[in-house]
Every structure is written in structure tokens, then in C-alpha cells.
């Protein structure tokens, strides 16, 4: 019941995000989709992931996209592609979804019995991150630092070229 509501919210947000003509509306719908997905995570028992989803996607990625939208002047001629390529794209999307759906439907992996709610306390996640996944964590930290510097460099260069 709750799952259906949040799933519907997510899908509605996602569809609105890619179909609305106003970019800011798109981002706001995207935030809705992210929030719905976070709720789905919470339902699935992944509390940390749910809050992290909100913190990162709503609090950072969406705001970043908003900044980009405001920093680039969008003259209103954007929108969908030409009719032919739109049709082609729709066809391909439907084909991809069809194959995915059919695969999921016919998969043998879904025949398992429903397991009990697994435990994922903060303690466990913290221990796992600090012990077993310490190296990936470091690598992610390095990656984020590199991305930070790289993004700043890309977006900030050419100081002298301005007359």
C-alpha cells in the first residue's frame, strides 16, 4: 500500500522531470522523485540510504542543477527533438523497457521465499565502512576531492580571456 503510493510518486516525479518544458519545474519534479525514492528506501529498511539520498540528491545534486540552470541562459527553444528522432527514441525506450520487464517477469531469481527484515543499524554500517570497506571509502574521498577541484577548474577557467 505505502509502497505503491511512493512508487507512484517517484514515477510521477520522474515523468514530470523529463517532460516539463520549464527546466526549474523539471528539477522540482526531480526532487519529488528523489524524495519518493528515499521513502521507498526507508520502506525497504535502508534508513541510512534513505536519509543519504535526501541529503545528497535533494540537498546537493538538485541544488547544483538549479545553479547550473540559472547560470546558463536557456532561450526557450529547447524541448524535444524533431518528430522523427522523437518517435525513434520512444520506440527504443519502449523496447528497452519491454526487454527489462520481460526479463524481470521471467526471472527465476524471484521465486525465493520472502526473507525477514534484515538488520542495517548505523553501527553495522559504520563498522563495515571503517573496516571492510575502508579502502573504497578512501578512494571515494579521493574521487570527490578530485571532482571538486576538477569541477572548479572547468567552470572557473579563462580569467585572462575576458577583455
Amino acid at each position: 500500500m505505502l509502497f505503491t503510493i511512493f512508487a507512484a510518486l517517484t514515477i510521477a516525479g520522474a515523468v514530470a522531470a523529463i517532460s516539463l518544458r520549464n527546466l526549474v519545474h523539471s528539477v522540482l519534479s526531480l526532487i519529488l522523485a528523489f524524495a519518493g525514492l528515499a521513502a521507498v528506501y526507508l520502506l525497504l529498511g535502508a534508513q541510512f540510504i534513505g536519509f543519504a539520498q535526501i541529503l545528497v540528491y535533494v540537498g546537493a545534486v538538485a541544488i547544483l542543477i538549479v545553479f547550473t540552470i540559472l547560470l546558463t541562459r536557456n532561450d526557450g527553444t529547447f524541448g524535444t527533438s524533431s518528430q522523427a528522432s522523437w518517435n525513434l527514441g520512444a520506440l527504443i525506450v519502449i523496447a528497452v523497457f519491454g526487454t527489462l520487464a520481460w526479463t524481470i517477469h521471467s526471472s527465476a531469481a524471484l521465486q525465493h521465499a520472502l526473507p525477514p527484515q534484515p538488520e542495517a543499524t548505523m553501527q553495522q554500517i559504520g563498522t563495515a565502512l571503517m573496516v571492510r570497506f575502508a579502502l573504497p571509502l578512501e578512494v571515494i574521498g579521493l574521487l570527490l576531492t578530485a571532482a571538486l577541484i576538477g569541477a572548479a577548474t572547468i567552470a572557473l577557467h579563462e580569467k585572462q580571456e575576458r577583455p
Binding site: W86, I154, A155
Partner: protein, 103 residues
């Protein structure tokens, strides 16, 4: 429909919507939004398999999503910086006008 398959169907749908955004819109920012949606669909898959799969106490799915979110944040930052940089040079964010790599 089992809970797992409904999760997977939601994920597939989300992926397809994101893919549609990438294929059918021309604005680079919207394409980035589509990519974010596809990434989220993948994350949902991980969580679903962690929740309903075997050996959930290993927390592999959760860990994977944590790192995936980290990578996605980096990707979004660099991608948007690229869009700003492209806009600065070409005065457009329409992806079909950016074809200087044409052979």
C-alpha cells in the same frame, strides 16, 4: 507479484523514464537529469536485492549504494561544470548543436 519483482519493476520503469529523458530531450541539463534517474534506478536495484536477496548481513548492497551515491555526486558536479563550460563557449546547452566531434 512478489515485493522483489515490484521493486525491480519500479526500478525498470524509473530507468526507462530516465532513458527516455536522455534520448528524447535536447537540453544537456535534462539529459543529466535523465542520467541521475537511471543511476537512482540502479541504486534501487541494489537495495532491493540487499533486502530480499541472500546474505543481507554482509551489507554489500548498502555499501554499493553508498559508494554509488558518492560517485553520482562527483559525476553531477563534473557534469554540470562541463555544461557551464560548454555554455560559455557555444552559448547553448542544446546537445544536438554540440557536434564538433563529428567525423
Amino acid at each position: 507479484m512478489t515485493p522483489l519483482s515490484s521493486c525491480l519493476m519500479l526500478s525498470a520503469l524509473l530507468f526507462s523514464v530516465g532513458f527516455a529523458g536522455v534520448l528524447m530531450r535536447r537540453n544537456a541539463i535534462l539529459i543529466l537529469i535523465g542520467i541521475e534517474l537511471m543511476l537512482n534506478a540502479a541504486n534501487l536495484n541494489f537495495i532491493a536485492f540487499w533486502r530480499y536477496g541472500s546474505a543481507p548481513e554482509a551489507l554489500t548492497g548498502v555499501m554499493f549504494v553508498i559508494f554509488s551515491i558518492g560517485v553520482a555526486a562527483a559525476e553531477a558536479a563534473v557534469g554540470l561544470a562541463l555544461i557551464i563550460s560548454i555554455y560559455r563557449h557555444r552559448k547553448t546547452t542544446q546537445i544536438d548543436r554540440i557536434n564538433s566531434m563529428r567525423g
